[in-house]
């Protein structure tokens, strides 16, 4: 009887072990189920490269190029801000800071990671947006740049913590070897530690960018939500994620608009899948 009970429990455990695979497949299947119908009205090429997004005009025009470019622009801006600062902060925490400072800084970074995106979006709205409007004399402060700055803050905790782990996992002997040869601390960091941790740092950067592309609420609140092809970072843009979040509430279930929003979901899913798999490969290369 006890053997039977254990048999059941072990099978249950195996089943739960497989749950993650099950859910990933389930998510993808349901996105496909609801999203693929859009390709009855628009070819995949028209959908991805179409320049106008008028989902409720008659007939609807479902080109997501402006949204893709909006996401790219915001992400690029956030990457330019967050990568150097994030990696530098990781180096400082891992290699330079004294033990006590280190603990405080790490707690600060964890704090930042814990702030909900809607709160960061709100703070961006009441502080950053009016500042940018004033500094650049813009008609509105709701721009791609505001999104980039706020998103940079959301990417940084990811970048810092993973890059820091990568630096820690460099064998101690590397560092000792460099010191023994008379290198200064900075020379050791620059010539030995950073190259040795490079694949982990690369993974950190990719995961940070993945976080930015998928971010929704903050972006929706501060980038101005205009679905046109952006020409400058000081213009309002609309990202892929914000489009789904802003429009799904009004889309009629089963309409072209509804299908198109799910198709955007497919694009986002595939994108995040690609980023995560690649980052995972880099992380494993390290070992």
């Amino acid at each position: 009887m006890r053997k039977f009970k254990e048999f059941i429990i072990e099978k249950l455990i195996l089943l739960c072990g497989l749950a993650s695979i099950f859910f990933v497949i389930l998510i993808f299947l349901f996105l496909l189920k609801e999203g693929l119908a859009v390709f009855k009205i628009a070819t995949p090429l028209e959908f991805i490269l179409g320049k106008s997004w008028y989902p409720i005009s008659e007939p609807p025009r479902l080109g997501i190029l402006p949204l893709i470019l909006g996401s790219l622009l915001v992400t690029l801006g956030a990457a330019i801000i967050s990568i150097p600062i994030g990696v530098a902060c990781a180096v400082y925490i891992a290699e330079v800071a004294p033990l006590k400072t280190k603990e405080i800084l790490k707690a600060g970074i964890e704090l930042l990671a814990a702030i909900p995106s809607v709160v960061l979006g709100f703070i961006g709205m009441v502080t950053l947006v009016p500042w940018l409007k004033q500094i650049f004399h813009l008609p509105t402060g709701l721009t791609a740049l505001s999104g980039s700055v706020m998103l940079a803050f959301m990417a940084m905790p990811t970048i810092v913590s993973i890059a820091e782990d990568a630096l820690y996992s460099v064998p101690k002997s590397y560092k000792e070897g460099a010191f023994a040869l008379g290198a200064t601390q900075w020379q050791t960091i620059w010539r030995v530690m950073l190259p040795a941790a490079s694949s982990g740092i690369l993974a950190a950067v990719m995961l940070g960018i993945g976080r930015v592309i998928g971010e929704t609420m903050a972006v929706m609140m501060i980038t101005g939500n205009s679905a046109v092809i952006p020409h400058s970072i000081l213009q309002p843009v609309r990202t892929l994620t914000a489009t789904i979040a802003a429009e799904m509430g009004e889309a009629v279930v089963g309409s072209e608009h509804y299908f198109a929003l799910f198709a955007i979901g497919i694009v986002l899913f595939v994108l995040s899948f690609a980023i995560n798999v690649t980052a995972d490969l880099f992380l494993h290369k390290k070992k």
């Binding site: 072990g17 749950a19 993650s20 330079v96 600060g108 814990a114 909900p116 809607v118």
Partner: protein, 283 residues
């Protein structure tokens, strides 16, 4: 000019320090501003009353309750599955292709954008299972979203229990499951608790997954059942800061402060548990 390594180091370290300040100072400022401007809004009425006058007055009680229900529902769903998945990975899984795929799936699940979880919840729970926009649909969506977090944290906790503990238990004739149940799990509980609380915090703060699965724009009463819609704090903050004009700044900051306090409190509890456990650890 000859390069002076000492000076280069000083300059380099200065810039590293500057970069760190660049992250930490804004975090501090954000907290200070929200506390300073939000605190005057906080009183008993704000916390215990329903929103009035189109959310421009009154309190945020239904949103607080809604968020608590959602978070509770998410954890009831995610903790058993997540914990068992972690037990599988740490105690049963061999180093083979299947395990590799499971780990990859967890990484991917963690990386799926939150709004895509919202779409998925809409398609599966709201429409396919016909739950409608409801606490049940929202909780399940949030539950799947925090699953990877719970699995990863629990697995780390289980794996940090020394292997010799298991060997001793087996040598005394205990079966594999008995060993897990009576030896490994009790020793891993603080770590599992930490992960669970962090999951709670994450679920409480997310907005995008609940947008189309549960969140009510304005519902000035408490939800009656799991199939009822509910207000939720993060969505409420979004609504009063972008969708409703002329809401007093105080109410917005107050709502942000309540949400932030809830999330940070959970994180703080998790950090304290982890810290105490580390100090007490006997191996």
């Amino acid at each position: 000019m000859k390069r002076n390594p000492e000076r280069t180091q000083k300059i380099a370290f200065f810039f590293l320090f500057l970069a760190t300040l660049f992250i930490v100072v804004p975090v501090g400022l954000i907290l200070v501003v929200i506390i300073q401007k939000g605190l005057p809004a906080i009183n008993w009425q704000f916390l215990s009353d329903i929103p009035r006058q189109g959310m421009r007055a009154g309190g945020i009680f239904p949103a607080i309750v809604g968020t608590l229900y959602l978070v509770l529902g998410a954890i009831i769903f995610a903790l058993p599955i997540g914990l068992m998945a972690a037990i599988y990975l740490s105690e049963y899984a061999k180093d083979n292709f299947l395990t590799r795929i499971i780990k990859l799936a967890i990484v991917n699940l963690a990386g799926v954008p939150s709004v895509v979880y919202g779409l998925f919840g809409l398609a599966l729970f709201v429409i396919f299972f016909k739950f409608g926009a409801s606490i049940l649909a929202g909780s399940l969506t949030l539950g799947i979203m925090i699953l990877p977090l719970i699995i990863t944290a629990s697995r780390e906790a289980l794996e940090s229990v020394p292997y010799s503990f298991r060997e001793v238990s087996w040598s005394l004739g205990a079966s594999k499951w008995q060993t897990i149940r009576h030896i490994v799990l009790p020793n891993a509980i603080p770590g599992i608790l930490t992960g669970t609380i962090l999951g709670l915090g994450r679920a409480a703060g997310e907005t995008a997954p609940i947008l189309f699965t549960v969140a009510a724009f304005y519902l000035p009463r408490l939800p009656k059942s799991a199939f009822d819609q509910a207000m939720a704090l993060p969505y409420h903050l979004y609504v009063i800061s972008t969708q409703v004009p002329n809401v007093h700044e105080k109410i917005r900051y107050g709502t942000a402060l309540v949400l932030l306090t809830m999330v940070l409190f959970m994180n703080l509890v998790a950090i304290v548990i982890r810290y105490k456990f580390r100090k007490k650890k006997k191996w």
